[in-house]
């Protein structure tokens, strides 16, 4: 199945109400993040000392935190950091996992072995622990967090890409392209890569919400970006000390984060069902039944 056909089918078929709600939620959060400077009438650092830990009022729609900062304004600005850092972390994970991974595979057995030994080592550490370690090494800040996210999630991408690549290499069109004199890099870029797009998109949809959650965990632990830069994780950490006086200040970012991760997961799940050829569900039932070979490699792909 070509990725184009997959996208056509994704667009053409019935959209479940849950997916629609998730899509709307993500779009609203994206717009809120993009429009933060226009939407907010004050800076996320402005302190209203007459209204510390205040509940929702006409002036502060979601109330204020322990320093009298407007929760809604901080939520809007925090969405920017959370989304940008999450997206850049995902991009780096792909550059390392898919980019470097595929180059290492194409370059030869030795480079493949070496790079995947590194990947294996990274994989042995959970994302949070690797994050703590890298932030210790590089100092806290936005860039170390992005590096930590990219490194932590690169194995997830690399291993899936390696499996998918091995699956494609064994197929006839690759042998055909090679027999026409196509070099390994040429075959990779022009023949194999287009067939990996479905897998890559699917994997991106899995990695992005995880990056966002891990970024929030790191900010929550005080290891993320500087205190001046509002992030949802840091808002939760700050407000957790005043949970009794001002539950609204902590509920707002918690709910925002849950809505974002839920919506992204729902969308990612839909994408996977429609785009990933390694999933039996993505293949038209008639094709799977008609071809025993197709069924065999589908089962094999799903297993790994």
């Amino acid at each position: 199945m070509s990725p184009k056909a997959g996208i056509r089918r994704a667009a053409g078929s019935f959209v479940a109400p849950g997916t629609l709600v998730a899509l709307v939620a993500v779009i609203v959060i994206l717009l809120a993040a993009a429009g933060a400077p226009i939407l907010s009438d004050q800076s996320p650092l402005d302190q209203d000392l007459t209204a510390m830990n205040g509940g929702p009022t006409a002036e502060h729609l979601l109330g204020t935190d322990n320093l009298g900062r407007d929760v809604l304004v901080r939520l809007l600005w925090g969405a920017r950091t959370t989304l940008v850092v999450g997206a850049l972390g995902t991009a780096l994970a792909f550059a390392l996992g898919a980019g470097v991974g595929l180059m290492a595979i194409v370059a030869g057995r030795l480079t493949e072995m070496l790079w995947f030994a590194v990947i294996d080592l990274i994989r042995a550490l959970p994302a949070t622990l690797l994050g703590v370690l890298l932030i210790v090494a590089l100092g806290s800040g936005t860039v170390p967090v992005i590096i930590a996210l990219g490194l932590s999630f690169s194995p997830l991408v690399a291993l899936v890409v390696r499996t998918a690549h091995a699956r494609e290499v064994a197929r006839d069109y690759v042998a055909a392209a090679a027999s026409f004199g196509g070099g390994r890099l040429h075959v990779l870029v022009h023949h194999i890569l287009p067939n990996l797009i479905g897998t890559l998109v699917t994997q991106g949809a899995i990695v992005l919400p995880r990056c966002i959650v891990t970024e929030s965990v790191l900010s929550f632990l005080g290891l993320g970006s500087s205190p001046d830069e509002p992030t949802w994780g840091r808002m939760i950490a700050d407000a957790s000390r005043f949970i009794e006086q001002a539950p609204h200040a902590i509920l707002a970012p918690v709910i925002a984060l849950i809505v974002l991760t839920t919506a992204l997961s729902v969308l990612g799940d839909q994408l996977r069902r429609r785009l990933d050829p390694t999933r039996a569900a993505a293949m038209p039932a008639d094709l799977a039944e008609a071809s025993p070979i197709a069924t065999a490699w589908t089962a094999e792909g799903a297993e790994s």
């Binding site: 294996d120 080592l121 042995a124 550490l125 959970p126 994302a127 949070t128 622990l129 703590v132 370690l133 890298l134 932030i135 210790v136 090494a137 590089l138 100092g139 919400p209 959650v213 891990t214 929030s216 965990v217 929550f220 632990l221 005080g222 290891l223 939760i236 957790s240 949970i243 009794e244 539950p247 902590i250 509920l251 918690v254 984060l257 849950i258 991760t261 839920t262 997961s265």
Partner: protein, 303 residues
């Protein structure tokens, strides 16, 4: 012998991984900008000469490779040096923090696996819509709700609204929250594996004999699914680390996570090194054992 060879290889690979991680951890920690001497210098107003003396007494002036082997030698004997901040042996600090973390991790692991297994077995043998929905719900919960958000919600609901538990220092709530997360991560996969195992011929025979669904599930289906359950138990470890770390902070529990973070903020290098190393090596060890055990009970993976 051929049965044990893959197990031996798995153990050796685990050892290599552990050594690799320790080396990487150590050198990463050593490049951190601003060591503890800088921090103490700022706080206590140490002069340049005093700072230099302190560095010499800490051994920071020696070649870095020498420092590593010195550290590794002592660490192998259980001596992680002294905390620069608290002037206590790091090993003692770890020992007093470990029980909290172990209780938290072990408790939530047991809760998680028991819940996932129980729910998956029930859903497989009873064919109930409600149970299927519970499986899906638990799975979505673990994907969508980060543990520290669940912790915040738990505190608000149970402590503030219902007034059941004290917020700080409670272990029950964090164990349940991490346990739910663990269960959600594996329940769907266990359920899928059980659904496949149910289709096997010997299970059909058992059903034809008229055995009760529960007996079939426990005696005939579960042993087939044991390997996957084992592998999945290894999978929850990563979530367990994030979970215990954030829960310790949120609930003010004095475990290894709290120790590590305080040390990171205070640039207390020996403590950071020891805490990260101990946790990382423990994880590699558990994963290696799971892998070895898996190869032992399910020779199919050795191919």
């Amino acid at each position: 012998m051929s049965r044990w060879l893959p197990v031996l290889f798995a153990l050796l690979a685990g050892l290599a991984r552990a050594v690799g991680i320790v080396v990487v951890t150590w050198f990463l920690c050593r490049v951190m900008p601003g060591d503890v001497v800088d921090v103490l210098g700022l706080e206590g107003g140490l002069s340049e000469a005093q700072q230099a003396d302190l560095r010499v007494s800490l051994g920071y002036d020696r070649p870095i490779v020498v420092q590593f082997f010195d550290w590794a030698q002592h660490a192998l004997a259980g001596d992680f040096g002294r905390s620069v901040r608290f002037d206590r042996p790091v090993a003692d600090m770890l020992a007093s923090a470990a029980p909290v973390t172990i209780e938290l991790a072990l408790g939530s692991f047991v809760v998680g696996v028991a819940l996932a297994l129980g729910l998956a077995i029930a859903a497989t043998s009873m064919k109930s819509r409600l149970l299927e929905a519970a499986v899906d719900g638990l799975n979505i919960w673990s994907i969508a709700v980060p543990t520290f958000c669940a912790g915040v919600l738990g505190i608000i609901v149970f402590s503030l609204w219902l007034g059941w538990l004290p917020v700080i220092g409670s272990l029950i709530l964090p164990i349940i929250i991490i346990g739910l997360d663990n269960a959600g991560q594996i329940v769907k996969l266990v359920r899928e594996d059980l659904a496949e195992a149910v289709m096997l011929p010997h299970v059909r025979t058992a059903r034809a004999k008229g055995l009760s669904p529960w007996r079939i599930a426990v005696v005939h289906v579960l042993p087939v699914a044991a390997p996957i359950v084992l592998v999945l138990s290894g999978l929850v470890l990563s979530g367990l680390v994030a979970g215990t770390l954030t829960m310790e902070i949120l609930f003010g529990l004095p475990g290894i996570g709290s120790l590590m973070l305080n040390a990171v903020h205070g640039r207390d290098l020996p403590v950071v090194l020891a805490a990260v190393t101990v946790v990382a090596v423990a994880l590699v060890a558990i994963n290696t054992l799971v892998d070895a055990l898996h190869r032992l009970i399910d020779p199919r993976v050795n191919r």
